[in-house]
Amino acid sequence: MKTSMLKLGTALALVATAATAEEVRVYNWSDYIDEDLLAKFEADTGIELIYDVFDSNEVLETKMLAGGSGYDVVVPTASFMERQITAGVFQPLDQSKLSNAGNIWDVITQRTAQFDPDNAYSVNYMWGTTGLGVNVGKVTEALGEDAPIDSLALIFDPENMEKLAGCGVHFLDAPDEVIPAALKYLGEDPNSKDPEVIARAEEVLAPVAPFIQKFHSSEYINALANGEICVAFGWSGDVLQARDRADEAENGVEIAYNAPKEGALMWFDQMAVPADAPNAEGAHKFINFILDAQNMAAASNYVYYANGNKASQEFLEEDVIGDPAIYPSAEAMENLYVKGAYPSKVQRVATRLWTKIKSGT
């Protein structure tokens, strides 16, 4: 959130060819859609689409809790969404308006139901894991051939981090994702809501903090692709987008993504409609448009994130559906964990710990 709020100012306002009074305002994560789809939606429906982006759940949540955001569709992560539903932020979806709802994948809805019971308020957009993005060449140079690029030891063992500091390490600026990973590394329950257990994350994070160049939740895509940094603890698809950008630039940078073998956080970004959405009708049209198998596949093919749409899988390119970093095998899925939202008091403990790790105070 570092700052977070700023680069997401890159608001993308698309001017519809057909000037109509109706408009839909969508607030989604940055680098998270094939922009051709936005034009396609406007062409198909004649609705003007206003598409803004953010890069932290905290920013989205604050906007939602303030009320009157003016958005019709927003895409919170399921764990955050859980408490937003409690706060009355969203309206239940009208299933009768979602003719493509039959496309959804039960493997995902079973998991999202623990955050959004019966999936009454949301439909999965995409999901992924939080793990290790590495510049293979530079990491091998720093740590040797047997560098643990698929283990949390890469980023949580101070000896490794000391050697990696020279080529640059970025971490997500997201305490809700990094603290569970640190707890997993310690062998604790990553989903723990016990302040004493959470406090133990400091044992892991404090010794490596001096070697972390930056905590940021979107800059690492470009930084990895340019070779400015060699390791990022980040989101699967974002790292794979970095891989793609490096390939396109033909700059000799080889990027790889691995979900840590100790276990990785699995998260779900859900499309939902705010209770005070100005155009709930149009919001359903947008969600239904995304639920279309070919549209959903186009989005996943573009951003390298898996989606919760079973029917879209036949339209996915082989380097998406066939990549275990995007669609893990059923066996690898066993090794993924999910995390619920922290209660307010515990959230304060986590944020304070995070500030301490980042600033030393």
Binding site: M5, T62, G88, E228, T351, G360
Partner: protein
């Protein structure tokens, strides 16, 4: 009646743009968090009339302010912001004064152009200007490429994500706010005073120090306030250019508001920040008025 209207305009201005927002923030700072829209309890229920006010008074506690004293993060952040604001104000003054002085010394026909050059950067968005400093200061940035290119350094200087980058950002952004009031003060300066000083045996430097500088004092003070006050609560510049170790109260406020969703504590931080800023300003103005009266 006319006089009353004239006096009341600035007070209405102050009421609408300062006091009312402040009271809203103060009210939130005295409430408690809640998982709802908006995320705090509506403590003062005016609809209930007097009973509502009494109930609010009875339940009033200062726990959010007490909380600020219990964690050293807050006063460290206030102190760190104070330090960054003071240093950057001094730096801006050191850069801005010679520019303003040079402008008044320039030939008359140049002045509109020079003035334009000071104002021109405002035509570009503040955010874009701060962002472009990242491209200049980063390890692969223009500055390092230049210095390495001319052989001055071998390894890139690490400037981005440090406090130095924050100082550069603040000085750059707020420079016009320093230059313009000083320029205005210097422009009014009566040249004959300097001639008189030199006739009476002052060197040019002494004349500057004894005549020019004291007469531009009002401009220096106004400029310093215009830089110091926003620098103290600055968020954008440290967020974009500073590192994770750059501790500033603006960032703490952001965390309280966005990460903790704790509007009451965030509001308490803002109220304390306002007090920190307003008390010295009021004291200073009183002092000025006293001096002015004594001068008469």
């Amino acid at each position: 009646m006319k006089r009353f209207a004239l006096i009341s305009i600035p007070y209405l201005w102050l009421l609408a743009l300062f006091l009312v927002p402040f009271l809203i923030v103060l009210k939130i700072s005295l409430s408690d968090t809640e998982l709802a829209i908006p995320p705090y309890t509506p403590t003062l229920d005016i609809a209930q009339g007097w009973a509502g006010v009494r109930e609010w008074w009875a339940g009033l506690d200062m726990e959010n302010f007490v909380w600020l004293t219990e964690d050293d993060l807050y006063w460290k952040a206030y102190l760190s912001s104070l330090k960054i604001a003071i240093i950057s104000t001094l730096l801006t003054l050191m850069v801005g004064y010679p520019i303003a002085y040079g402008m008044t010394r320039a030939p008359d026909e140049w002045r509109p152009t020079l003035m334009m050059l000071i104002i021109l950067p405002f035509w570009t968005s503040f955010l874009i200007r701060v962002y472009s400093w990242k491209a200049i200061l980063s390890n692969e940035g223009l500055l390092n490429q230049l210095l390495i290119g001319i052989g001055l350094i071998d390894e890139p200087l690490v400037i981005l994500n440090t406090n130095i980058a924050v100082y550069i950002g603040i000085v750059y952004t707020y420079l016009p706010f320093m230059v313009l009031p000083i320029y205005a003060a210097l422009e009014r300066l009566d040249e004959s005073l300097l001639e008189a000083a030199e006739d009476l045996g002052c060197s040019r430097f002494t004349a500057f120090w004894l005549v020019t500088f004291p007469l531009s004092k009002q401009g220096v003070i106004a400029g310093s306030f215009l830089v110091f006050i926003p620098a103290m609560g600055e968020y954008v510049i440290p967020a974009l250019l500073g590192g994770s170790k750059t501790l500033m109260i603006g960032k703490v406020l952001f965390e309280e508001f966005f990460a903790n969703r704790d509007w009451p504590v965030a509001s308490a931080v803002a109220v304390v920040l306002l007090l920190i800023l307003i008390i010295p300003i009021v004291l200073f103005q009183r002092n000025e008025e006293k001096q002015r009266e004594a001068g008469k």
